[in-house]
């Protein structure tokens, strides 16, 4: 395989994606009453310059890595940015989210480059698995610390240190992916031992310890932070990796039963969990003119119904009817203004990223890298799925961000690091194959 041509493909795709994003921005600024000022200079810097900078870094730091992931991420990020600008400026009192988001995008691409620079070989991460596990756990539980944790919009998932607010959960999931991958590769033989219980073949109860610990932590997060999304995502990550590592589907069954049971228990026993669940229709229920309740979910459905096939057109809808639309509900705004076609395009972009991620997982040479790539792809694909499924009323709403698209610094930074790790693993595969090929040719010559 000629890995060198991957960068050319990447550049071509990046240019295509940037053209789309620039076109979208210009369209959104065209209507007479468009909320968007045509500040093209800084905009081009963000939507064209940043991806190109990332591309140049790729050429130097991971020249043989997959060529589709970065253009797809840039496309989604650029689309999200156009929507955030459009949504914020449409408000009576814009909160300057556009400016902040461009800052987060710069930091995100920065984190992407730094990760590629620091992590030169993904296999070396395996050594730090327990450190990563500890860091992950601390980050996950950090919002519970008095003085640090902040309750925003009903969930205790924020941490304030000085002037900086961030969601440590977004970074915890990365550290935990490293930990799970390393730990499970180490223990997979042991964990894979099944014992027969009558007609069933179940894991030995002795080895269920890690499952129980992960389960307990997930429940603690759910109950104490009122964060169903992170709790679900974290537990799913663990279960998927456990299943892939041990090749024992019985873990999936046991895990799902445990989680459902725990969630039901929490629902029954803790008032605030119940309250949160009952607000699954959305935290911001508005009261309509006749005193009826209009939830965020309803507003999102109304918005999407307005979108129909081709959408109302960029800048022509009224997505700001949906409270905090720029984070959890941004997908509804996209469907309203770009229609079924635009919504499907976003789904396809995520599917392509999942496909690229799992392909990397299949090809990775070491078990650790395979598991890590699987875990990172699961995080990306599953997080995008549960929030979009919540917005379109397929699943109960769990407040997590839509990767690369939603507003938010923590989420964007974490996802760019995730992308860098996947690309690093991809580059490793190519390096190793090239090395093998070279060795082979050498032998032949000799």
């Amino acid at each position: 395989m000629n890995y060198a041509s991957r960068r050319t493909t990447e550049l071509g795709l990046l240019v295509l994606g940037s053209m789309f994003v620039v076109g979208a921005y210009l369209l959104a600024s065209l209507p007479d009453d468009s909320p968007i000022p045509t500040k093209v200079g800084p905009f081009l810097g963000i939507t064209v310059g940043l991806p190109l900078a990332a591309h140049v870094a790729m050429r130097r730091l991971a020249p043989q890595a997959d060529g589709m992931l970065l253009p797809l991420a840039s496309l989604l990020n650029g689309l999200g940015y156009v929507f955030i600008v459009r949504l914020d400026e449409a408000r009576d009192a814009p909160r300057g989210l556009a400016g902040l988001q461009s800052l987060w995008m710069i930091l995100g691409v920065g984190a992407f480059v730094v990760t590629l620079m620091v992590v030169r070989d993904a296999r070396k991460l395996e050594r730090y698995r327990y450190t990563a596990g500890l860091v992950g756990l601390v980050l996950l539980l950090m919002p519970l610390l008095p003085g640090l944790g902040q309750v925003i919009h009903g969930s205790r998932i924020w941490v304030s240190i000085g002037p900086v607010n961030f969601q440590p959960g977004e970074f915890a999931k990365l550290a935990l992916a490293v930990f799970f991958a390393g730990y499970l590769i180490e223990k997979r033989e042991l964990l894979a031992i099944n014992r027969a219980f009558g007609p069933f073949s179940l894991p030995d109860p002795k080895h269920l310890g890690p499952v129980l610990i992960a389960w307990a932590v997930a429940l603690v997060v759910m109950v104490s932070q009122r964060d169903l999304g992170s709790s679900l995502l974290f537990f799913t990550l663990f279960l998927v990796l456990l299943w892939v590592a041990t090749e024992r589907a019985s873990y999936l069954v046991v895990g799902i039963l445990l989680f459902s049971g725990g969630a039901y228990f929490a629902y029954q026993s803790f008032g605030h969990v119940r309250e949160r669940v009952e607000l699954w229709g959305g935290f911001w229920a508005l009261i309509g003119p006749a005193g009826e309740k209009i939830t965020q979910i309803d507003q999102a459905a109304f918005a999407m119904a307005d979108g129909a096939w081709a959408g109302r057109g960029l800048g022509l809808g009224t997505p700001t009817n949906i409270p905090v639309v720029e984070s959890d509900f941004i997908y509804a705004a996209i469907v309203e203004e770009l229609g079924l076609f635009g919504g499907a395009a976003v789904l396809i972009a995520f599917l392509l990223m999942i496909g690229a991620g799992l392909r990397i997982a299949q090809q990775a040479a070491s078990g650790f890298e395979r598991l890590l790539a699987t875990g990172l792809t699961t995080l990306l694909g599953f997080q995008a799925f549960i929030i979009m499924a919540g917005v379109v009323r397929l699943l109960p709403l769990t407040g997590v961000t839509l990767p690369f698209i939603s507003y938010g610094g923590s989420s964007l930074l974490a996802n760019y690091v995730l992308l860098a790790l996947l690309l690093r693993i991809s580059d490793d595969i190519a390096n190793r194959q090239s090395a093998q090929l070279a060795a082979h040719q050498l032998t032949e010559v000799v």
Binding site: M304, A305, T378
Partner: protein, 504 residues
């Protein structure tokens, strides 16, 4: 591991497929349902912020238009004629919804009907907002006369063209100013709405077609129709006995004449004198319950009048109660007991006689034009119901003309030219046992030798005194003034089709 990773991929593809299907449902299959959700005001907000066509009378007076405003909706709906056409135009308000023509022709005003969509295709690259301007068949001058003549008394005036159903005037007191409800200061609009709704006189209700009252003797036209068509009554026979009291059965209240007088005779005579005993007898003995019920429903009683305005009520003929109860049938035959009718319905009764028995679908919309004055929609006249045969209609037309020349409706041709033929029927409907009554008149007019061009119904509610003269004295002069105005040519020459120049 490979197998598991592949299965994970398959699982995620399934998840995303489910997402895709669900987005299809929301944007396409459930879209109509979601857009019609009463809690969904997106369409209203959109309509509110976009240009909206004007509503005009046929003689060119603007009743509703959108002017620029500096608030978040950019456009404010204003009603320059205030209370005069409030019950016709209705209002277009954000939280209070809409009413009247603003509601019925919302899609046309917003430029959203199929015709507009087709035109829009051709306008793909032209920056042009499609709106529909609705021209009503109503005439500002006739409407003004109606308001002037009612002079603040509670009541209604309906005038229409019996030949095609075009409404010429539709006014009732009390009315209201739609501007206060269309106010973008929603608190003020809500307060104004509450005040109007709490007013016992219900100014927002159009009494012309949303309220019904006992029609009294004007209903005798229906009874006469039933007598002729189902009971063998002719101009010459039977001759009803001259009496002061009629008993339909050994039980129940007898029917008396106003002021205790005696009357009787053949059809023309009893109609001219509005003889209660004779019509009660005709109802019970000639028309019978079956015949009257058939005729009443042929006139449109117990059915919704298909007028292009929302919220109308049906007029009532008590089919079940009259079936086996001659005293009730006797009272119903003279438009009392539980018979009740809207002024619009009674105007249609007169229109049926004037138009050879056929009642045309009444309507206020004449045509819809786009911004370039091209007509995109026009109301095509159609028959709503056939009330009687042409022969019956001709007989009753003659009879009603004789009521004006020789009977209780003498005031109906006040001020009208000699070559105008006028027919009518008065009514006085006693309110319970009080010493007050609703004064009614229905009638038609037109140039001699031609089918009548205007039908009218007037009610002045709760007038002091109970006598057969009330309707002729109170209501007839109003109707005469309205007829006179409606028979003059309207101010705009291109609208001449509905009226005939009587002086010419």
């Amino acid at each position: 591991m490979s197998k598991q990773i592949r299965n994970l991929g398959v699982f995620l593809v399934c998840c995303y497929t489910a997402l895709f299907l669900q987005v299809n449902r929301l944007t396409v299959f459930q879209a109509k349902e979601l857009q019609n959700d009463p809690r969904n005001n997106r369409q209203v907000v959109r309509d509110f912020s976009r240009p909206r066509g004007t509503i005009e009378t046929v003689d060119g007076v603007v009743l509703a238009q959108s002017v620029e405003s500096d608030d978040r909706f950019k456009l404010q709906r204003v009603y320059p004629t205030k209370d005069l056409f409030a019950h016709v135009t209705g209002f277009f308000a954000f939280q209070l919804g809409s009413a009247g023509v603003e509601k019925t022709y919302n899609d046309a005003l917003a430029g959203r009907t199929l015709n507009f969509s087709l035109k829009e295709l051709g306008d793909l690259f032209v920056d042009r907002e499609r709106v529909g301007n609705v021209t009503l068949s109503l005439r500002n001058d006739v409407q003004e006369v109606a308001r002037e003549e009612l002079a603040g008394r509670n009541g209604s005036v309906v005038a229409l063209d019996p030949r095609n159903g075009e409404i010429l005037a539709l006014y009732s007191n009390p009315s209201y100013d739609p501007n206060v409800l269309a106010n973008h200061d929603f608190t003020a609009a809500a307060a104004a709405s509450d005040e109007l709704n709490n007013n016992p006189e219900k100014p927002t209700r159009a009494r012309t077609y949303m309220e019904r009252k006992p029609p009294g003797s004007t209903f005798k036209i229906v009874t006469a129709t039933a007598g002729i068509e189902h009971g063998g009554v002719t101009a010459d026979s039977p001759s009803y006995p001259v009496q002061s009291e009629y008993r339909a059965a050994s039980f129940g209240q007898p029917i008396g004449n106003f002021g205790g007088g005696s009357c009787g005779g053949t059809l023309f005579v009893i109609l001219q004198e509005s003889c209660n005993t004779a019509f009660a007898q005709m109802g019970v003995e000639n028309a019978t319950a079956l015949g009257l019920t058939a005729s009443a429903s042929d006139f449109g009683f117990n059915a919704s009048v298909p007028i292009d305005l929302p919220g109308g009520v049906r007029s009532v003929w008590p089919t079940d109660k009259v079936a086996n109860d001659p005293p009730v049938l006797a009272q119903s035959s003279i438009g009392q007991n539980e018979v009740s009718a809207t002024p619009l319905q009674m105007a249609l009764v007169a229109a049926a006689v004037a138009n050879g028995g056929k009642i045309m679908v009444p309507h206020v919309m004449r045509e819809v034009r786009d911004g370039q004055q091209d007509v995109v929609d026009r109301f095509d006249p159609e028959v709503w119901t056939t009330a009687m045969t042409p022969d019956t209609a001709e007989l009753l037309r003659q009879a009603m003309i004789s009521v004006v020349t020789d009977g209780t409706a003498r005031n109906l041709d006040n001020g009208l030219d000699g070559n105008i033929v006028v027919g009518g029927k008065t009514g006085t409907a006693q309110i319970g046992n009080e010493d007050s009554s609703h004064a009614w008149i229905i009638g038609f007019a037109g140039p001699e030798g031609e089918p009548p061009t205007v039908a009218v119904a007037v009610i002045v509610e709760a007038q002091p005194g109970v006598s057969e003269q009330t309707g002729g004295a109170v209501a007839a002069p109003i109707a005469a003034a309205v007829l006179k105005q409606a028979l003059t040519a309207p101010a705009r020459p291109d609208a001449g089709a509905t009226a005939t120049n009587s002086s010419g």
